[in-house]
Amino acid sequence: MSKKSTKPGESTSMDMGEMQRLIDLGEKNGLAELEVEKSGVRVRIKYTRDNPMAPAASPATLVHASSTPVASSASQPATAAAPPVETPSWEEDKDVFLVKSPIVGTFYGAADPQSPPFVKVGDRVKVGQVLCIVEAMKLMNEIESDVAGEIIKVFVQNAQPVEYSENLFAIRTHS
């Protein structure tokens, strides 16, 4: 399974690797627009031909086909007709700390299937607090927070594979 880290878009049940593959697919085939629906999430990608080298910066509008509201830190509601939503630039925001995976492995948000997750969006965390486990080949790596702050995004779903240096959490260090 190959996954590239991407700029996160809106929160969806479709993972970022899958998104990236869709973006790449349309890019490679010179499409103007690509629309895909999967497990209640519809994704429409429009390509700006004058900047083909930056597909991730092209507007990618996500549409939730189900009526269930989805937690999101962005204020605009995502609808088919809405203008492209600005992608939050986590990498550049100095008040946002990104927790990255130190190894290739499988992400676990809880100690075991019966336990509640270590953290969720909105939780305040302390330095040294356990955020998740990344497991590779029966080596359990508890990822601790290097900063104090508020969890504003969990990038990965439970039991999903993560790449080396892939974003796991965004933590706002100042509110």
């Binding site: 676990y108 075991d112 019966q114 080949m137 080596l139 790596n141």
Partner: protein, 329 residues
Amino acid sequence: MDEVTVRKIDKLLNLLADHATLVVSGEKIARELGVSRSSVWNWIEKLRALGCEIEGVQTTGYRLKKLPDLLSPQLVRRELANSNFGKTIHHFFEIDSTNKYAVKLAMEEAAEGTVILAEEQTAGLGRLGRAWYSEPLKGIYCTVILRPSLPPAKAPLINLAAALAVHDAVQRINPLKMDIRWPNDLIADGKKFCGILAEMNQELGRIHWVTLGFGINVNHTKFPAELAEIATSLRLVTGKNWSRLELTGQILKALESSIRSMERDSGREVIRRWSAISSFADRKPVVITLDGASYRGVTAGLDENGFLKVQRDDGSLETVYTGSVREAH
């Protein structure tokens, strides 16, 4: 049993082992142990209760007839010669989990090669909160603290090295037909006799510590019904009792040398040897299960990090990071 008692028992076992076949006077025992002469009898009784055969020689002292197969620190060290692993050993007659205790020691800066051994675990740990069945005095329940000079990304390979260490130790004592199921289950007669589970703490691209836990079924003669189909012991496989002391010593020595080899070559030799021994390395039909979902495929070797490559039935190539790997039937 409290810590002082455990330490005194260790000392007494070592004293008697030092003078095996000779008579050790009650006076000498009292002096070495720091107990009164009148209580020496009580200490000898404690050892007898643990399976030590000791002859009381009228008025002169005690003679050891047979050492028990206890993983007492000084007895284990007798098996280790000059190895660095096992220089410090914490021994428990009963503990919740050797892994849990090792993590605590590692956070308190315990040195590399510190070993935690227990005769019984009351809450032995398996993967993701599962239990490890730890029958008293029958198995080796052991955790080693490592501080290897390796990038964290290479740390998972330690689990392959650990499986090799157990394989090599068993082979050295009594050669038998074994397999290693990816990544680190030791299999004999189609059933598992050793499980290995590691935990890592790292920061800024450096490994602080790894705790490497072994649960080895050695002299078990039976298993609870729910395990009988999947678990075995060296005793059940070979029909004879094994010295846990000897096996522990061999494992620690083999482990130390394979960890050092990984630091030299980033694990290349470990991957090569693992692949030569395990039937799971190549062209094995398998079922991979992760988080409730399964797929089938055929194994296609390990990558440079020790991850298992699997060619799925639909033709795509998958890299397995974790999850259960079982032979497909």
